[in-house]
């Protein structure tokens, strides 16, 4: 096999049922057509998962994935992704995380770890220096993420290793359980922690000293320097993200009527300042934190030293966490938000889905759909810190009403009935995050409706960067409509085409294995597709330009879409919660609603080359992308509408 520059070169495949461990070479056909990380994982899961399998059954597989740029000098290269079939949505799942796990996995000699089957008893996997061993985790089962990390690092005798593990929430199969790494970094969306729990694997631990070979070192260094120089000019980073972290968005989003408040009631919260980035910086912030190879350092490290919400030092809270456990619940107590964040991290919970589920429960209680008899005596009051903390405990342990909420809001609403389905904020079963689409931008609404993993602001890319922030992301030469139209406009202004291109741009980070943040900006101050292509070419020795890279992104996004089609999802699943079609009640965006989602969807499908009626990629489009086998398989499925 030829040397693959930029890659560790091996896949670790672990069957937990029979404890068989295989070290396999990377498949060059996948590398050529999908690059790596999410692209590689998407192809493997397409080929190896049968449609309709139980995501929590042994037939499901879970892939820890890195890309060629992971662990290199490329800015913000400390990423990894976890790909699987989601137990929350039943659809395509990818969960991204930063920290140090991804680079250390590559340094251990592996680009991917594929977990299969189900262990008979709790185990953990120790991956190091080209080797892997399955170890007993009986003593770890039941421990929190922080406890598990400390115990494992001591047991293996390598304090520099990186631990990706689940907490009690994953063990209890909470459908939005996270896989936490380096204690407080989360691959959280879509419930990969529950898949690990179902396989009875508590942790994957990794370290090593294998280097990453670079095809053209000098050219790579120059390309990295160019990217770094661009990022230095990125004023949003300089002005907000670096000094305040992502939680610095709270005041800005509130000023724009885009801070989700009281579970879909409004985008404006009078008390937002109390839990803003500015307030955190002046009170409980200990220091900043950065992931591997990052010059931005958006992470916060906070502590509440005393009082009812005393919390040890740990990483966070992020904007999403603060808004979901804050304004969404009409809650403004920063100390309690920090405590809530710590508990979610300790138990291994997605803070977005957790906050969404709690606010959903509060609204159900407020409207009489849940009573004190249903909650086991717990009053679910808007804005009450104790309610939030208690519900986090209950969800993680599946106790009381927490057992219901641990199923995610779609399933919980169906079980409650009485109209609760119309209250729940999700798309495809994934709980909506903290970018209120009616207030932020209608591109965000379209993104929420069409993202393969469900309601998400960052997957594959934050489209609001275009019509909310008026940024290009370096996509002008690739056909991005410019200038960006009014953020509240819906059809006739190029939003379908723009969302498509922005999504492809995001997939570049997903397949090369890096953080999304440096890709957000203008032509001269972010890492554009052209800059990624330059770095990738020098790293791997394979000449690739931005147009070719975008085409590969398109292939990957189409494959993710087809994964969902194969699971039975069609246009009817590309939708928004009923509340998003109703007007925001107060604040600067009062009256804003999504009025023509169907029109935006038509424009998006047309731009993508997909069938407008079904949303399924056409055979012509799939064959153009080299996905004839995918088209054939879909065409052969009895359940699938004709493509």
């Amino acid at each position: 096999m030829k040397q693959l520059f930029g890659y560790a070169g091996k896949v670790l495949r672990v069957n937990l049922t029979n404890k068989k461990i295989l070290r396999q070479p990377l498949r060059e056909d996948i590398i050529d057509n999908y690059i790596g990380c999410v692209g590689y994982a998407a192809r493997v899961l397409w080929e190896e998962l049968k449609p309709g399998i139980d995501p929590l059954g042994p037939q499901n597989k879970l892939i820890f994935a890195t890309g060629p740029l992971t662990g290199t000098l490329c800015p913000a290269s400390g990423s990894h992704e976890i790909c699987t079939k989601s137990p929350l949505t039943g659809a395509w799942a990818e969960a991204h995380s930063g920290g140090f796990f991804g680079p250390k996995l590559k340094f251990s000699g592996f680009d991917f770890v594929i977990l299969e089957g189900r262990a008979e008893k709790p185990v953990y996997l120790w991956v190091h220096d080209g080797e892997a061993e399955i170890r007993d985790a009986k003593e770890l089962w039941g421990k929190t993420v922080h406890e598990t990390t400390d115990v494992v690092l001591e047991e293996i005798g390598d304090p520099e290793a990186s631990v990706a593990c689940i907490g009690p929430a994953g063990e209890k199969l909470v459908r939005f359980a996270a896989v936490m790494n380096d204690k407080d970094r989360a691959a959280a969306r879509c419930g990969p922690g529950a898949v690990m729990g179902s396989k009875k694997i508590k942790a994957v631990v990794t370290n090593g000293i294998q280097g990453i070979s670079i095809a053209q070192p000098e050219e790579f260094y120059e390309a990295v320097t160019e990217a770094e120089e661009a990022l230095k000019k990125n004023m949003p980073n300089v002005h907000t993200i670096i000094p305040l972290g992502t939680i610095g968005l709270v005041n800005i989003y509130n000023s724009q009527g885009a801070l989700p408040t009281k579970y879909g009631y409004t985008g404006y919260f009078e008390n937002a300042e109390k839990f803003s980035g500015e307030t955190l910086a002046n009170t409980f912030l200990v220091k900043r934190r950065a992931c591997f190879g990052c010059t931005m350092g958006c992470g916060r490290y906070s502590e509440v030293k005393s009082g009812p919400w005393a919390t040890p030092p740990h990483e966070g809270p992020e904007y999403e966490t603060a808004a979901m456990l804050g304004s969404l619940c009409l809650h403004d107590n920063l100390e309690a938000i920090i405590r809530a964040n710590y508990l979610c991290n300790s138990y291994g919970l997605d803070t977005i889905s957790t906050g969404n589920a709690i606010a959903f429960a509060m609204e159900c209680y407020d409207k009489g759909l849940l009573t004190i008899a249903d909650t086991g005596g717990l009053e679910l009051r808007w804005g009450d810190s104790a309610t939030i903390i208690n519900l986090i405990e209950n969800i993680a342990k599946r106790e009381g009403v927490g057992d219901l909420l641990a199923e995610g809001v779609r399933r919980a609403a169906a079980k409650i009935g009485k109209g609760a389905e119309e209250l729940a904020l999700h798309v495809k079963g994934l709980e909506m995050p903290a970018h209120e689409p009616r207030g932020e931008a209608k591109s965000t609404a379209l993104l929420y409706a069409t993202s393969p993993r469900g309601a998400c602001h960052m997957h594959p890319y934050w489209t609001g960067s275009w019509d909310f922030n008026q940024w290009t992301g370096g996509l002008l030469e690739l056909g991005l409509p410019w200038p960006a139209p009014d953020r509240f406009a819906e059809t006739g202004v190029g939003k379908g085409l723009a969302v498509k291109l922005l999504m492809f741009h995001g997939v570049i980070q997903d397949i090369t294995g890096v953080c999304r943040f440096p890709a957000l900006g203008k032509e001269d101050d972010c890492i554009t597709p052209k800059r990624y292509a330059r770095m990738l070419s020098a790293l791997t020795g394979r000449e690739i330009n931005q147009f070719e890279l975008m085409k590969i992104s398109e292939r990957v996004l189409n494959l993710e879409k087809c994964f969902n089609v194969r699971e039975g999802l069609t246009r009817k699943d590309d939708t928004l919660p009923k509340k998003m079609k109703e007007p925001i009640a107060t604040g600067p965006t009062k009256g804003q609603a999504v009025t023509n989602l169907d029109g935006m969807l038509d424009e998006y499908y047309e731009a993508c080359g997909w069938n407008k009626k079904t949303s399924i990629p056409t055979r012509e489009k799939l064959e153009e992308l080299g996905l004839k086998d995918v088209a054939d398989e879909l065409a052969g499925m009895a359940k699938t509408p004709k493509i």
Partner: protein, 99 residues
């Protein structure tokens, strides 16, 4: 008779640091333009505010990258002609991304 209107002004970082607040209610004469309000605020908060918001204060030019919004509509290029209505929301911030 002079009619007064109330406007709620929201600041993004680093204006939160410069002004010492994230939000304030300001009373102005009915019919005042957004530019008039911005200049009043620049007088109140000094050069740091002025430098952050204006590229050319005398020529009334808002700095590129600074977004001025009125009820969530971006009006950075129209501050001179747009008049403030009662209970309006003004936002002054720099675009920022992420989540």
């Amino acid at each position: 008779m002079v009619t007064l209107v109330k406007v709620t002004v929201h600041y993004g970082h680093p204006l939160t640091k410069i002004t010492g607040k994230a939000r304030e209610d300001v009373i102005v004469k009915k019919g005042s333009t957004v530019l008039f309000l911005l200049k009043n605020l620049a007088t109140k908060y000094g050069d740091a505010f002025k430098d952050h918001v204006f590229s050319n204060y005398e020529r009334n030019q808002v700095k590129e990258g600074t977004i001025i919004s009125l009820n969530a509509k971006y009006i950075s290029d129209e501050t001179k002609k747009i008049k403030i209505e009662d209970n309006a929301f003004i936002g002054i911030f720099r675009a920022v991304g992420g989540g």
